[in-house]
Every structure is written in structure tokens, then in C-alpha cells.
């Protein structure tokens, strides 16, 4: 049996976690159980997100090779090993031993259907396709309703209370560097007439306003007329958000255009800008795009699959909230995800007498939402597709470090990154503020998501993966701590053409 305690930074100091107090009942429960201890892994995390998708104890089957072939013939998958996952933050309350017993009882045989204590909302699937991402999309689509219900704007939910994209110090430095670059190109008669800047994910438009204000002021002070040639493209998948953002930049209206697009495929709308953009700005977007995880366990590569479910008790509460049967709850949730709260209230007034009730149902369902996981062997990294045009082979250097590791692939972020760098002018740059893992070792020592951030999903972004992919496409990708606010986990990523 392997016991892997990951949050090593929690093991020392004044507020050190008493791992022994957590692990002793876990090991006790395991020894009392009939589970094959030689085929067992115990992994301990510190899940820092108070809103998350995990139970204090989860059991994850590690499926045997050939699972895909068995499934094709209708045969139930076989678990070769079992991983017992402990959240150390929630394992010290005395009930952990019972939780282990209960979890193992649920999962000693992977072929046994889920017990009635859980209500599944979907079948097993790669996490990036789970309904948690429908919840995430709904959050951004119906943000105004969510904010009304919570009484606070989403920026207030961010650490520090505002997006790092608004930091004037950071913007000022960036603009100054860009002006110098423009001067160099102009001196070689190589500066295009139109200077394009793209922002993906505009939020409330404050970042765009700060950037444009700083650029216009710096250009005036610089004595050049680059602002006259500037075209700032605000892009978001929500027309509503774009409209709000436009109001924030009315002072620069002549230089601003809006595009509705999916951040994972910017060239669908911006293909005409290939090779022409001097700056693409993305702040706190990548960590919110669909992702799945891969793992290396015992020298074998796995894809993590997930299945969303609700605990029976939560289903009872939800049913009571809308005066429906427990059996109706999953269908109501899927209807909510399809229609959104406003239309749901219109469609089912007997259950949702007002939009507020629908929003309440949404928030309660979101709070209760959990994910169970399993590891499915990958027949080969080359058979795994990370994003369009990006095969799984690129993961090999990260996975073959010699250690067991589980890491995010950030499929949505990779798709966005790859599509975006094609827009860059040879002297352009992609600038991104986000939660980045900058060393794969960090996956072995900390929990990197998923967590619930207000009504959205958050996962740290696999920085070394973007670095590798960028490198294979001729870009240098660098990471630096966000320099303009202390105590933040935000990292600045810069990607520029090399050679």
C-alpha cells in the first residue's frame, strides 16, 4: 500500500496538520476492511476551496488496461487498483473512519452500480465534458441573476476584490514596453498602419478602460500618434457582457470594436488578424475553461473520468425546495442548464413561481454538486487529443518524470492558447494573468482544482504544458509572479515569438 501525503507545506509550523490523527483512523478502517491492501493507494490532499466537488473521503477505481475494449462489448470495467482520496482539511472531525468504511463499501467492486446514497446526473465521461461545465457556462450567461441573488459582483469574489487586469502599474509597464517596440518597428519602416490589441474575456470592461487610458496618456507623453492607429478588440462569448463592457470604454469608442466569440477558438471570428496582433490580453480566463486531468500511476498513463452526482440528502432538500419528487430533481437540473433560470421559471411556473426560486434552485444544486472519479488507462499518449491540433504526445516529458503524478491538461486553455498565438505579429505578445502551476512538481505537493469559485469552476493552469506546446510552435513562454500585488497566487504568463 502506498500512502501519498501531498500538502507537505501543511506538515510543519505552528498550524501544522496532525496527519497522524487523520491517517490513523483511515489506516485502521482499511485494515478492518477486506480490501486488497497490496492494490491500494491512499492520497491525501488539502482541498483549499471551501466550495469543491469532493467528499472528505473518495474512492477512485484505477481501471485495468483494455477497459475501452471491455466497454465496447458491454462488459463492466475492472478495477486493477483502488485509490482512496482523503481531504485532510475535513478529515479531523472524528467521522473519517466511518467515511472510509462507507466509501469502500460503495466501491470495493467497480462493477457494482452506484449505491442509492447518490443520485448520478450523468454517465462516466472525461471531466471536460461533465455537466459541471454547463453550470460554469450558466454562471457567466446569467451572471446578473446570480449577482442579484448574492448581492455582490463577481469581481468581489476574486482574491483582492478585483481583477488583476485592472492594475494600473502593470498596464503602465506593458504600454511603455509596447511603445518602445513600436518605435523600433517604425524606425525600420515596418510598423503596420493599424495596431491591433485583442482582449479575450472582457468582464465588465474595466481592464479595457484602464489599458486604453494608460495607452492614450503614454502615447501623448511619448509624442507619437500610435493611439490614432490603435484598434482595441474586446472579445467575449456573451453579447450582454460585451455591451456592458462597451459602456466602460465610451471615451475610446472610435478605437474599440466588439466581437462575440468563444475564447477557446478566437480565430473563428478573428482569423483575419493572423500574424497582425501586437498584444493579446487574457486575465483570469484560462482557469475557468473546461479541463480534464491525466495521471501517471505505476508507470502507466491514465485519463481521469468523472461523473457528477448529488448526495441523497441534497436531493431530498432540492426536491422539497421546489415541491417536486426526488426522482424529478436530475431532470430539473438538466432543464435548468439548458434553459437558464429565467426561462426555467417561465417553463415550469408551478415549480418555480419566480426567477428568484429558479436561481435559488440553481445555487443549491451547485453547492451540492459533487464529482466521483476513476482512472481509465490510455492506450497511448498519441491516442489522446488535448485540443484541436495538439496531440497527447506532448505530455510525455511532463508525465515521465519517474514519479506518480496527476495533472491538469487544461484542454480549453490549450485550445485557446494555440489558436491565439497564431494571431500574434512576429513582434507581438500574449499576456495572461491567471493561476498557473509553473513546475510539475507543484502537482505533487498541492491541490490545483477543481474548486468552486462563486458559481464558476476554477482549476489551476498547467504552465509547463503551455510552455512545451508554445516551444513546439516557436514561442517562448515565460512565467513570473504577478508583480503588482503581494500575497497573490496570480502569475503572469508571457508568450512571444522566438528565433
Amino acid at each position: 500500500m502506498l500512502v501519498d501525503v501531498r500538502p507537505i507545506h501543511k506538515l510543519r509550523g505552528d498550524r501544522a496538520v496532525d496527519v497522524g490523527a487523520s491517517l490513523a483512523p483511515v489506516l485502521g478502517a482499511l485494515c478492518e476492511d477486506s480490501v486488497d491492501l497490496s492494490r491500494l493507494r491512499v492520497v491525501c490532499d488539502w482541498v483549499q476551496y471551501k466550495g469543491n466537488f469532493r467528499q472528505p473521503v473518495d474512492v477512485r477505481p484505477i481501471l485495468a488496461p483494455g477497459t475501452d475494449l471491455l466497454a465496447a462489448h458491454g462488459t463492466a470495467p475492472v478495477a486493477e487498483e483502488i485509490e482512496v482520496a482523503i481531504d485532510l482539511r475535513r478529515s479531523g472531525d472524528g467521522g473519517i473512519k466511518d467515511a472510509v468504511h462507507e466509501a469502500l463499501g460503495n466501491r470495493q467492486d467497480a462493477s457494482v452500480p452506484s449505491p442509492p446514497a447518490r443520485v448520478e446526473l450523468e454517465d462516466w465521461m472525461p471531466t471536460s465534458r461533465s455537466c459541471v461545465w454547463s453550470f460554469n457556462a450558466l454562471y457567466w450567461q446569467a451572471l446578473d441573476l446570480w449577482e442579484q441573488a448574492t448581492g455582490r459582483q463577481y469581481e468581489q469574489a476574486l482574491p483582492g476584490g478585483e481583477s488583476d487586469a485592472r492594475n494600473r502599474g502593470a498596464v503602465g509597464e506593458l504600454v511603455a514596453d509596447m511603445l518602445t517596440g513600436f518605435d523600433d518597428l517604425a524606425a525600420r519602416n515596418a510598423l503596420p498602419e493599424e495596431l491591433y490589441v485583442v482582449e479575450l474575456g472582457v468582464g465588465n470592461g474595466n481592464q479595457a478602460k484602464v489599458w486604453l487610458d494608460e495607452f492614450a496618456a503614454a502615447d501623448r507623453a511619448h509624442g507619437t500618434e500610435y493611439y490614432r492607429r490603435l484598434q482595441y478588440l474586446m472579445c467575449d462569448y456573451s453579447p450582454h457582457v460585451l455591451e456592458l463592457a462597451r459602456k466602460a470604454v465610451t471615451d475610446h469608442a472610435a478605437h474599440v470594436s466588439s466581437f462575440v466569440l468563444d475564447a477557446t477558438a478566437p480565430t473563428t471570428a478573428l482569423g483575419f488578424l493572423r500574424g497582425k496582433v501586437f498584444l493579446v490580453y487574457i486575465s483570469n480566463v484560462y482557469d475557468n475553461l473546461p479541463t480534464e486531468e491525466v495521471a501517471r500511476i505505476g508507470g502507466r498513463s491514465y485519463r481521469v473520468e468523472a461523473r457528477a452526482y448529488l448526495a441523497r440528502g441534497d436531493v431530498v432538500d432540492l426536491a422539497e425546495y421546489v415541491a417536486a419528487s426526488e426522482a424529478a430533481v436530475p431532470a430539473l437540473i438538466h432543464k435548468l442548464l439548458r434553459l437558464g433560470p429565467a426561462l426555467l421559471a417561465e417553463a415550469l411556473p408551478e415549480r418555480f413561481p419566480g426567477v428568484e426560486t429558479a436561481v435559488g434552485f440553481w445555487q443549491r444544486a451547485w453547492q451540492a454538486l459533487k464529482l466521483e472519479e476513476r482512472y481509465v488507462p490510455l492506450p497511448g499518449l498519441d491516442t489522446y487529443r488535448i485540443a484541436p491540433g495538439v496531440g497527447g504526445e506532448v505530455l510525455r516529458p511532463l508525465l515521465e518524470s519517474g514519479h506518480d503524478v496527476r495533472m491538469h491538461v487544461n484542454n480549453g486553455a490549450v485550445a485557446s492558447f494555440v489558436d491565439t498565438i497564431g494571431l500574434l505579429h512576429p513582434f507581438g505578445r500574449l499576456l495572461c494573468h491567471d493561476l498557473f502551476v509553473t513546475d510539475t512538481h507543484q502537482y505533487r505537493t498541492g491541490f490545483r482544482g477543481p474548486g468552486k469559485y462563486d458559481g464558476s469552476v476554477v482549476n489551476w493552469v498547467n504552465g509547463p504544458l503551455l510552455q512545451l506546446i508554445g516551444s513546439r510552435k516557436g514561442f517562448d513562454v515565460c512565467y513570473a509572479p504577478f508583480a503588482h500585488r503581494s500575497g497573490t497566487n496570480i502569475v503572469t504568463m508571457t508568450a512571444r515569438v522566438r528565433d
Binding site: G275, D382, G391, E393, R396, P397, P426, S471, R472, K473, G474, V497, D499
Partner: protein, 370 residues
Amino acid sequence: MATRSPAGVLLPTAVVGSYSVPEWLERLKTDFHQQRLSRAHFDEIHDVVIKAAITDQERAGIDFVSDGELRRDNDIDYLLARIAGVRMPTMAKAYYYDYYDSVVGSHLPADAPPLGLADEFRFTAAQTDLPIKFSLTGPFSLSRRIRNEAYRSDADLVRALADVLNAEAAELVSAGATWLQLDEPFLAGYRDQVDLAIEAVNIVTKGVDATWGLHVCYGNRYARPSWEGHYDFLFPAVLEAHVDQLVLEFARKGYDDLKLLTRYGWDRTLGLGVIDVKSEDIETGDLVASRIRRALDVLPPERVVVNPDCGLRHLPAGVARAKLRAMVAGAAQVREEVVTPRPGGDLSSAAEHDPAAQRAVLAAVPNEEA
């Protein structure tokens, strides 16, 4: 200088040099550079993939094939690593395609052994009956990746590299090479140094009895252009180059620069780029034919060789094959029109050709020796 066509074929098709590098080969190349694969196995792998690349070209109907430059890690280091006097302080690579940092700390020795490219040519020649085009990165571009700590000026370094390549070209001709091409992918980024680059080209070609091509593009590193602009910077300097053929990129950029050939009186052959190698969209034969016809507005068909814009290395193999087939189909279409003018067609040069003689030439293509 006199015009020499690489063969008697009308509108022959050729590759520029590199061929599709599959992902698994990239992985093996990286493994080699990280010392996880032996040189012997690496060489055998290259032998096999070169045979496959040649077969692909033959089946596509290409008239002049190459080894796909599949042994090369990139366009620069493969040569620099073989040149005596070029030092690479760090030889480990995270990725095979990365560039080394190269330094020339003292003058390149005049009596250095050959670079070994002749053996590669011999291997390729043994695999095919078709004539072969063999490419070398030119001295100007090679110099751009070297830190010069030895020569008084960078121009002197360029000339010294040209001397090395001149000796190697002679070795290649001794091995049977008849069509050599110098690639200058960096030149478009140094428009003010064309005179130096052409001077170096002439050093390389001096006394080497081969059909010489000069390929100038806007870069194909990671399938991205490194530079933008027009070919006007090449003229009139390139008229002084002792080469038989100018191999240029058009398909991606458009054909407006063809007028430069007329304006400056280019009197030799044009390697006409008709395939965009930076796009995976597969051209149709009709599109290729229309592009060739654009060139025939300014040059007679006997002075046009049909080729992709640049190397195919970044394209998936299936796409590369399909593009080559389209290129061959387009060339055949126009060739037929030239030999048998379409009613109302205005290919003036068609009348200058004897259709019977042209058909005889075409029939001989598969076994034609350059």
C-alpha cells in the same frame, strides 16, 4: 549567364527540400538529442523514412525528388554541427528542432574534411531512378545563427562559410549530384544585406558544375513566416547571382511579385511556389493550374519549374501527399494546354513549341536524368 533547365521536361515538378516530419519521428529525434537513442538506430530510422518519403514523391508524380531533408534536425544546425571550427557549447536539446547556440571562436580551417553530405546524396540516389534535387542552407542564413568571435566582420564569416559550402558542393557533384539548391530563409529579414548574400552565393557556386537554384522565402520556422514584405529587395542584386533558378514563395503571398521578374529582366528559370506550405488546406489541381498560368504571363513554360512555396516539413504526411498530387495535376493540366493550346487560349509560348517533341519529352520524364 546561360539558362539551364534541370531537365528537358516542360513545367517539371519538384519539391523545395524538406518533407513531412511525423510526430513520432520528432519524438525519436528528440530522444536522440537527449541521448536516449543510439546513432546506429537513428541512422537506420532515417534510412527507412527517407525511402518512404521518396516513394511518396514518386507516387505523387513528382519529377525531381529529394531526401526530404529528414536527417536534419533543423535547417541550420545540421550543417553547422558538421563544420569544423563551429563550436556548440551546449549540445543537449529539450526538443530536436531547437537551435543550438553556435560560436566561431577562430577562423574556419581551410583543410577541414567534407561535411558528409555526399554520402547522403549517394544513399538517396540509390533509392530512386528519378533525378534528385539536393538543398543546402546558404552561407548568409547559416551565419545568422553564429556568434562571431573570430572574423573582423560578419561579412567575412559569411564568406568563410561560403568557402566551406563550395567545397561540399564539389563533393556532392563528385557523388553525382546535378541539381543543387541554396536556401536562404533568413535573407528576407536582412533586406539591406542582399549584396553580401549574393556575393556568398557566388562563392559557393564557383567552379561547381551543377544546375544551381537559389531559394528565398519568408521563413518557415514552425510553419510561420518570420518576415513579411515583397521580393523587391532581391533585385537587381540577384541578377548577379551565378544560379540557374530562383525558387520563390508565391502561393501564400500572392503573385504580384511576378512582375519583378519582368521589370528586372530575370532571364533564367523560376521555381514557382504554387503550394502554400503553411496551410493544411489542400489546393485543387485547378487552383495550381491557375497559379502556373499567372507565371506563364511573364515567363515561357520552359523557364518555369513547379514547386511548393517551401519545404513540407510541418505538414501532416497525408496533407503533404495530397498537396503534391494536386501540384502534379495542376502542372499536367497546364502542360497539356501548352502542348495543345486551348481554343482561344493565349499562351503565346505554346506556338513556339513542337507538340510532338514535347510529348516525347513528357513521355521520357519518369526515367529522365538531370
